[in-house]
Subunit: 303 residues, 2 copies
DNA sequence: GCTTGCTGTTCGCGATTTTCGAACAAAGAG
DNA sequence: CTCTTTGTTCGAAAATCGCGAACAGCAAGC
């Protein structure tokens, strides 16, 4: 483990250009700094200074260390400043990672309770691929992640999945395309152009298998990492596309598309993934509780 | 000054979710961590944990501190890794900031000796406005800065200027434009369309004043922060433009332009700016020594 | 030459900080 | 209620840190 006190002394000496000037600034004595730096170098196994004449000159390793040290102490003092001055913030921030494949309307519905809490919350959303979000979660740069699958077991990243609910899948299409598709659902999907969620999505594998079981030919014309982009293509008539049954009302309200029909044989599930087993963040608890209290059931009924 | 040992213990407890589990991982006892964290909180004046039941939960300030701590210790261990494993790098890196206004050919000529040193050097160049480069120099993210002026005295950033040499100024123009300009130099500049280095450049002020002293009308059609962009416009016939006399050969070799003439009454000077008074970096010393040994005088002769 | 003043360094002791053993209080599980 | 597990308080031991004294080497001035 790196000794940050040593690093601090080293950086001070490097900046000041000598142990004596550094000692004055730090209100210490030269021999202290000299000794601590020698100790630091020995512990690292690398010389940080070249002793040339009666002068200290940075080695290449020293330059590297100095640039890192500057960065470290800068973020450190930034933190100190925030804690000492801005600690009595009225806002608590809630950083959520949202997997691309989670439809925006679902994400909004899941997160809506956050903004209605008694204590004001600043919601910070970030969308990306699930694996990258989980990496950020592990570094505590995110408070939670929304995904369409539980924590993948293979990774060595630790995280805990909390199911939020599930819903059937509806198929939507632009009106012009819908008119061309013959037969009732799900027969109308046979051979129809289809847009598929990307490889990262849970539906990516299950949906084609379901079509096959139904004896329908899959004609996949596109795959999309981002569900909103998929909807835009769908609206333009590129193909029919799946969407959570719970968000059909939202989708028809925002896009010029109609529902072809719904099935409960494919289930789309949503999960909250957190770094700790217990949900520590009040906003995360609100999300979990609201979702469990029949959020999807209600909305399916109301549609 | 932030206590990084305290911060480390705090982060460990927050990650582990309790003092006991954290104590096991750190090979310490719970009471040590408990005491150190209490001390840390008191020193900061902020509660990092909420004691709810027999459980520790992060406060909002704690979450903030944790995310900063993660970043700090990650860069710290990155540094440690680099120093311990990659310390015997065969390359030493040399990070140079180049003010936009410094012509590329001049920068190249000044930096060329760096790549011919006995010890191999990895040259990292960054171009930006001088003030931003000086800020980076102060943070030791750059080893030196090349500029067309010495260290500006007004700023509180500290840095030391080392003159590298000076040269007269030549005026260049596209052949078609040059043909239209009547009279010999400098008369031909009277009323001619002129491209000017940007506000950041030393020439920006001196060149119009020189024209005025010559009794020539200045007809400035454009200002450019980046000298290469100015040359491209000049090549297209937008106007005549100044360039260091020492780089006329380079410019005519790379752009379809001709020299209108040169003057020594405007001097363009170039400086090396470093964070320390003495040039510590071997590559920086090489730059300074090569430049001082008549780099510009020779090239002016050879042109 | 020699001296003076400056650099960084080594040594050992005292002061401070850190850590732990012991004991305690309180919350949850059975 | 009892037992386990949690975090905490207290004092004394242990490690670390920082200083005074003395030393070694370089550079400039007499």
């Amino acid at each position: 483990m790196l000794n940050f006190k040593h690093l601090h002394y080293f950086a001070s000496v490097a900046r000041a250009g000598g142990v004596i000037r550094a000692a004055e600034r730090l209100h210490l004595t030269p021999q202290t700094l000299s000794g601590q730096i020698a100790q630091f170098e020995e512990r690292l196994g690398v010389a940080l200074f070249d002793r040339v004449g009666r002068r200290l000159e940075l080695t290449e390793a020293g330059r590297l260390a100095l640039s890192y040290a500057e960065e470290i102490f800068q973020t450190g003092s930034e933190l100190e400043d925030l804690l000492k001055n801005g600690a009595d913030q009225r806002f608590i921030t809630f950083r959520v990672g949202i997997a691309d494949v989670v439809p925006k309307f679902i994400a909004h519905r899941l997160l809506a309770p956050v903004l209605n809490l008694a204590e004001p919350v600043r919601l910070v959303c970030e969308e990306d691929r699930l694996d990258r979000l989980l990496a950020e979660l592990a570094l505590h740069r995110l408070d939670m992640v929304l995904a369409d699958r539980p924590m993948p077991p293979g990774t060595d990243i630790k995280g805990y999945s909390h199911p939020l609910g599930e819903t059937g899948v509806a198929f939507m299409a632009a009106p012009a395309l819908a008119a061309r598709l013959t037969g009732s659902f799900p027969d109308c999907l046979d051979g129809a152009p289809l847009l598929l969620p990307g490889r990262d999505s849970a539906l990516h594998g299950t949906l084609p298998r379901w079509l096959e079981r139904q004896g329908k030919r899959a004609h996949i014309v596109g795959e999309f990492d981002d569900s909103a982009l998929m909807k835009v293509f769908g609206e333009a008539g590129a193909g029919a596309f799946p969407t959570p049954a719970a968000s059909v009302a939202d989708v028809t309200a925002h896009y010029q598309v109609v529902s072809l029909g719904e099935t409960d044989e494919i289930r789309e599930r949503f999960f909250l993934i957190s770094a700790e087993r217990r949900l520590a963040h009040p906003a995360a608890r609100a999300v979990s509780e609201h979702a469990r209290s029949g959020l999807f059931a209600q909305t399916e009924k109301s549609n």
